[in-house]
């Protein structure tokens, strides 16, 4: 059992890592760029940069997930 399951290890680990990492990206994107938008909104006195940041951040996250795990 030791020998056979040893060969499988990179694949199973990588798949789990991809799933959890994608989840973290989807949180980070809107958080980072939405947060940046909020700060810019405060600074410039506007109100459209927060939603733009959230949507843009989400788009960037999805692009990154596709780029990392979907495109090759």
């Amino acid at each position: 059992m030791d020998g056979s399951s040893g060969r499988r290890e990179p694949a199973s680990g990588r798949e789990a890592d991809q799933a959890w990492r994608s989840f973290a990206y989807l949180l980070s994107g809107p958080l980072l760029y939405g947060g940046g938008g909020l700060l810019l909104d405060r600074w410039l006195g506007t109100s459209f940069l927060l939603p733009v940041g959230i949507v843009g951040g989400m788009a960037l996250s999805i692009y990154l997930i596709w780029f990392r795990y979907g495109s090759r």
Partner: protein, 262 residues
Amino acid sequence: MSIVALATEGSGYTSPGVADFWQPLVGNGAFAITRASVAILVSVAVLSWLLLAGTKRMAVVPSKRQFATESTYGLVRNGLGRDIIGSHDFLKFVPLLFTMFVLILLNNLFSIIPVVQFPTMSRVAFPTALALVVFVVYHVVGFRKHGLVGYFKSIIPAGLSVGLMIPIFLLELITDLFTRPVTLALRLFGNMFAGHLLLVLFIGGGEYLLLHGAGAFKLAGVGALGMGFVMTVFEILVQVLQAYIFTLLAALYIAGAVANDH
């Protein structure tokens, strides 16, 4: 009777809330010894005893206790350590992973063990401390493996167009430095907090309905207590699962730092 009338009349029952989780036993304020602090100390004592007793008289044909200890260790060593970090350098992380798994598992189970009946991890400081340990470990491992500059370079995927490098780099940085450790801590905290709240609501509320309610409310109390039992069983599943997931993610983070390409 309208619901509003019931709500104003029945002031004897206070619904469970955040206050139920702040239980100082000695002193008060930031340095109070709380029920959770006692619980985690008890857990360390119990675990030390269980593991020492389980490995005391090792035999080829194991006793029940040795078997239980060995299969738990085997689960973490092989299922989490070797399969995820990889057979090359998983061994030095197994003590950390195993300690985390059994510590979290027992502290989660404390939620339903009579007398203790308090999940330590429902106080956010405890999962935060554990997540901080994981955070420091996987970054230090990454720095050692790639060097300081190489580590930060390694987080950008190869072949990315130049224009996207900075926004993606920031995204990766926030993911590694903030999102992953924070979600690691909050996932465990949230599950234990919500689960315990649910149990307190069903069992405490059921008891109140049964003892203080009239007529049909007594029946509802029986239903609530029954639901409390169902949720207790369900909570066991959640408690084991969360201990496993925390350890799994710790192993994944370490694996990511150890891996050649990020």
